[in-house]
């Protein structure tokens, strides 16, 4: 695994262009689906939403459905692409691991001043659990939505039992999707998580933050199986400084074999700046992310 670091700018690439595209395709189409889905309920005329400038369409169920369909195409293509692309490349960075539930509870406790955060991999344990939960919600919404669409286009007299369950599961998981979305936004509002927000917009996060909170990621100890396509992210900026290749073979501040393969310093094969993999930077304001 390679991790692109820009020491001068104190940045490390957390997400490649492909991941950012997947995330925002799902997020933006998901928001449109949420809104247009709401307008499939007879609420826009009743609650005068149609009077809001630009929302006159919301009271007409047919345009709302077309908008819902357009967003669905983006959402479904992105979801299936994600599943097959990362599935075939065996990317496991976001797959929950054993002990994630217990670790998540411990991390949540630290938000309330109880205990210390353990060193993290690229993703927090609660991020991995949330990913699984969101994936399950999206899967049900997509499958039931496909049944409903098939019924609309080809088979209005589809089995009532199938239509009934598809409709109600679609509605219930739509509510769960809203709750999960609210939880997702709530998580990034938490102060310790805020440095990650930059990453989902630019692809990069602060290097000192990553060293302090995600040392396992930098060590590559639990890195995803496939490399991230980092080349497409601001290559010129990265090229200006050294690119530190981190892998699982060698370690040591001075290039010597490590005494412990799992230590924070593990995995730095070529090192021009030895502090790159030292774990927490002594100069880092330790409380800044708490």
């Amino acid at each position: 695994m390679s991790v692109s670091v820009n020491e001068e700018r104190n940045r490390i690439v957390r997400h490649g262009l492909l991941e950012l595209t997947e995330h925002w395709a799902l997020a933006l189409s998901g928001l449109v689906l949420l809104l247009s889905g709401l307008f499939e309920l007879p609420i826009a005329a009743r609650y005068k939403i149609i009077a809001i400038p630009g929302f006159a369409w919301s009271g007409d169920f047919i345009p709302s459905l077309v908008i819902h369909y357009v967003a669905s195409v983006v959402f479904i293509v992105a979801a299936f692409f994600h599943l097959f692309y990362h599935g075939l490349l065996q990317d496991r960075g976001l797959i929950p691991q054993k002990g994630d539930l217990k670790a998540s509870i411990a991390v949540i406790k630290t938000f309330f001043g109880k205990g210390e955060e353990p060193p993290f991999d690229k993703y927090l344990p609660e991020q991995r659990l949330a990913y699984l939960g969101m994936a399950a919600i999206i899967a049900v919404i997509i499958l039931t939505g496909l049944v409903k669409t098939y019924k609309n286009v080809y088979a209005p007299d589809l089995s009532h039992t199938l239509v009934f369950w598809s409709t109600w599961l679609h509605n219930i998981f739509f509510v769960l999707f809203i709750l999960a979305f609210a939880g997702h936004i709530g998580a990034i509002i938490l102060k310790p998580n805020r440095p990650m927000v930059r990453g989902i917009f630019t692809g990069k996060v602060r290097l000192d933050y990553a060293r302090h909170r995600h040392p396992l990621w930098l060590s590559g100890a639990d890195a995803p199986a496939s490399p991230q396509p980092v080349q497409s992210i601001d290559e010129s900026a990265i090229a200006e400084t050294e690119i530190i290749m981190v892998d699982n073979t060698l370690a040591g501040e001075s290039g010597e074999p490590p005494s412990s393969p799992g230590a924070d310093t593990a995995g730095v094969a070529k090192m021009d700046k030895t502090e790159a993999a030292q774990g927490a930077n002594p100069e880092l304001p330790q409380e800044a992310d708490k």
């Binding site: 499939e40 609650y47 692409f81 097959f84 496909l146 609309n152 286009v153 239509v163």
Partner: protein, 331 residues
């Protein structure tokens, strides 16, 4: 289907006479009863035979439907909760006797069309109720699956599930479903903020169809103006009747096709011009299918999984190939 033609007295009389003869023969050939309660059904309404039961206090189809169906609706709560923020309710419970339009307590009524044909005044009577469309937006877009089109062709609202949001009425080109506020499941949820009663319309007497019986309006018609039977047979009979009387067909293509075919000796656009229209009194004009504009994108949605899978597999393959090339070059 013919939409416009010249109409004169001779032609009208010819049509009516022919229809009377053919209708009688047709009534013998086509089962009026839905003996085959299963399979796709359709109804034929022969306007050359309907006389509006002018000799009765109310048309037989109207009075029998009212008798059978009206008693099935529960009494609304008192007072009926006022919905926020419109504060508008629809309460027909104190006007159950109304029979000259569609209401939650009157699921069929007879429209009167008076015309001047070749100098003679002629009157046609048109029984009106749900058309039971082939691809009904009212049912497919119901957000709670409370309205559904069944395999036999009947479009039925489940009154236990309906919240009375009236989306079905908005989507129906004839605005057939009618709302009764103060009844239904919405009262148990958030009656002020969500829902406003129950939508009610003709269900083609689905319970009777399941038993192999005939809808009560068809059974009660003294003129045998209405016929129900296997869809193919009814459609063939309607086409044959239309052709033989030089008449006109309504319901075959309207809203993308329906399970109710009207045969008339007079063009329907002309009938549409003379009948009274308004709330609960639908017109007879040409109607495009409500859902037609959504089909293309709907098909794109159904293709989206295949597109996503193809892109994912191609992307992964390209990535692996690129990595192999890089390793080969490096080595």
């Amino acid at each position: 289907m013919k939409t416009k033609t010249d109409m004169n007295r001779r032609r009208f009389l010819k049509s009516v006479t022919a229809a009377a003869l053919i209708g009688t023969a047709g009534a013998l050939n086509v089962p009026r009863t839905a003996e085959a309660g299963e399979g796709k059904l359709a109804t034929l309404i022969d306007l050359t035979r309907c006389n509006g039961c002018v000799d009765r206090a109310a048309p037989a189809c109207v009075s029998v439907c009212k008798k059978i169906k009206t008693g099935r609706l529960p009494e609304p709560v008192d007072p009926i909760p006022l919905p926020f923020p419109t504060r508008k309710i629809e309460d027909w419970s104190k006007k159950k006797e109304v029979g000259n339009r569609l209401t939650p307590y009157n699921l069929i009524f007879v429209q009167k069309a008076e015309m001047d044909i070749g100098g003679d005044k002629k009157t046609l009577f048109i029984p009106r109720r749900c058309m039971h469309c082939d691809n009904p937006a009212c049912a497919t877009l119901c957000p709670f699956a409370a309205n559904h089109k069944f395999e036999n062709g009947a479009v039925v609202i489940d009154q236990e599930l309906c919240f009375g949001g009236a989306k079905c009425k908005t989507l129906c080109p004839w605005e057939i479903p009618q709302r009764q506020s103060g009844i239904g499941v919405y009262l148990k949820v958030l009656p002020t903020f969500m829902g406003n009663g129950v939508m009610v319309k003709c269900d083609l007497c689905s319970d009777l169809l399941k038993e192999g019986k005939t809808p009560v309006c068809i059974e009660a018609c003294p003129q045998k103006a209405m016929t129900i039977g296997p869809r193919k047979e009814i459609f063939a009979k309607a086409e044959e009747l239309t052709k033989k009387i030089g008449g006109y067909l309504y319901g075959k293509t309207e809203n993308g096709g329906t399970s109710t075919l009207y045969v008339s000796p007079v063009p329907f656009d002309r009938l549409d011009n003379v009948i009274r229209k308004g709330p609960g009194e639908p017109g007879l004009g040409a109607v495009k299918r409500q859902m037609a504009g959504t089909d293309t994108m709907g098909k794109a949605v159904l293709a989206a999984p295949a597109i996503g899978i193809a892109a994912g597999v191609a992307g992964a393959f390209a990535f692996v190939s690129k990595r192999k090339d890089r390793i080969r070059k490096e080595s």
